[in-house]
């Protein structure tokens, strides 16, 4: 008992400053960013499908970042829900590289705010279309691995080379992202999902632009997996509620509890 007391005291003392994070890291949210022209409600259908299992209801929190950087929060994170969904959307949801840069800097601010409020250390990220670009920019420019652990990033129909159909014509954004890839967290697992309505694109984004993601992530993250979906539901706007995507999210994101302090990994 004395030994446990001494060692325990030392542990409490050592972890005093970090204990908040240890506590907080029980919460392991999945954070979603919609694409251009979309609002925070973009993933509602996806959430309905993911929440169809009554034993795995995820609470939803939505943050709408206004043009001046202020934000509105709606929804709540249920106290016993350790895998909530958080959507970060933008009032200024216009397309374009300059806006993506601005949005990525807002993401950094909002994540810090969320961490202070909800106390989490680990999270997974999902981005639809430009949402994936915002995540990539954030990872390369703002991500601090002392502050957060991002275990998985899943991008849905993300145009890493905008509307270019050939990798020989790299956009400024792709060049920047390839240059910044050394800053990516090496423990990150990336899934890039491409939709193919026909053999060339998902109706909006060329497949080649989606697969250009490999030049950014491959060999710079722990794992990079490219998944191509086809069929009627593989149209760019349908990707978030595509049943295959729902299965993939369930399989690769929601059932993978890489957060060691996640309660599902705790001793039973």
């Amino acid at each position: 008992m004395v030994i446990i007391g001494i060692l325990g005291r030392s542990w409490v003392d050592e972890t005093r400053l970090n204990q908040s994070k240890i506590q907080n890291s029980r919460l392991y949210p999945v954070i979603f960013i919609p694409g251009s022209s979309a609002t925070v409600n973009r993933f509602d259908d996806l959430f309905n499908k993911l929440n169809a299992n009554p034993n795995q209801k995820h609470s939803v929190l939505k943050i709408n970042i206004k043009k001046d950087g202020q934000y509105d929060i709606s929804g709540t994170i249920r106290q016993t829900d350790f895998r909530p969904f958080i959507v970060i959307g933008f009032e200024n949801n216009a397309d374009g590289y300059s806006n993506i840069k601005k949005q990525a800097s807002y993401i950094d601010d909002v994540l810090t705010l969320l961490q202070n409020r909800y106390h989490f250390h680990h999270f997974d990220a999902i981005g639809h279309s430009n949402g994936g670009l915002i995540w990539t920019r954030y990872l390369e420019k703002y991500f601090n691995n002392q502050q957060f652990v991002m275990n998985h990033l899943m991008t849905l129909g993300t145009p890493y080379n905008f509307s270019e159909t050939s990798i020989s014509r790299k956009t400024e954004m792709l060049k920047d992202m390839i240059q910044g890839r050394t800053q990516l967290p090496s423990n990150l697992i990336v899934y890039s999902i491409a939709g193919t309505e026909d053999y060339t694109d998902d109706g909006i984004v060329p497949v080649q632009s989606v697969t250009a993601g490999k030049y950014i992530f491959q060999n710079y993250t722990q794992k990079y997996m490219q998944i191509t979906l086809s069929g009627n539901e593989a149209q760019h706007s349908n990707l978030p509620d595509n049943n295959e995507v729902v299965s993939i999210i369930n399989q690769y994101i929601l059932t993978d509890n890489s957060n060691p302090r996640n309660p599902t990994n705790a001793p039973k």
């Binding site: 008992m1 060692l7 005093r16 908040s20 506590q23 034993n55 039973k268």
Partner: protein, 401 residues
Amino acid sequence: MSIFSKGLSLLTKWDKRWQHQPLISAIYTTYRKIFTILVIDVYAHIIALLFLLPNALFPTILDYQLPFYTPIVQNVVLIIDIITMTFFSTLLAKEYYQRRRPDHDATLIMMTMFYSTMTSFQNQNNFNVILIKNYFILILLVYAVVNSYILYQKLLKQPQNPLSFANIGWAAIIITIATVLKPFLHSAALQATINQYLSSSIFNHIPAILIFALILPLLSWIGISIPSDLLVSQASATAISENLNFFLTKHTTAHIPYPINLYNTFSMFSIVGGLALCLLLLFRSRNIGDQRLGQWSLLPSLFNNHQLLLFAYPLLLRPLFLIPMLVSPVVTTSLGYLAVKLHVITIPVYQVPLSTPYLIRAYLATNGNLIALAVSILLIIVSVLIYLPFFNIAMKSQKES
């Protein structure tokens, strides 16, 4: 004679009579018979929670991880649990049946109960077995199975070979019913309901905390054992986190967001009853069997596992010990609450590792407040005093019998 003495005397008589009921007597005999398996089961849990699991006590404070794959450890513990509970139900069916029908063959009853129990546990998730060791359901199941068999025998009118077609048919129906009922027994709805109640902010108020302190031992008393640590950490996750953040930024506990919550009252100061009884067995009982039980129970009791005492002493379903089991956590939680409220000790804000012994919990959670340690020792003494009159009665009736 005071009302208290009269009450105790009445309770003693009732307790004695109760223990001679066929089902109750069969339960106690069964637990005595499976004592060795119970010891293995309890110690398997203790070893896993102290040394083997990723957030066990020693891996946490010494910052090491054994090269064990967590699911392997969990599955081994789960298998030991299932073996223990299957042994229990099978032997209980035999003991109970033989008390009801002394000269009858219990083979079929035992086999039926064995398969029914195994069927009930098959493919279930860990929550039901490891988190909730539900002996209560097993006891009800044995009661129903044995009585249905006796009734069936009466309906048959003429004695049958235990393994006759008629009897095998009955066994098949029972096993089928157990299979059909399995999803209801292990419904995730229970977990969802518990989660729903736990997420309520009501547990940041002392009346709800005291009700919690009453319900948990009551559930243990009827055979539903729920580890309080996991429930409390789930219910108070936000409170613990926000309190700690507040304290680390403001360096004071004045105006702390959750001055009272399950963690800093119930989890710090309650359920020292098992330890109290263990100490009484060790230092007050002259019975060698009791002392041996006290020795076996000391380590688990220190780490808040009271199952050996619950089943082998026994406390389970025993009227005499219901009062101290309920009173001890309520009184110790209230005293701990008063100690915090009156600023005798600082508010425990730090989270302690899982399975930290109760004795040093408050000491660690206050980051080394010696008064908190003294309060914890005092509360164990209080708990011993609560158990003492009931323990004396139990010792006396043990001598008489």
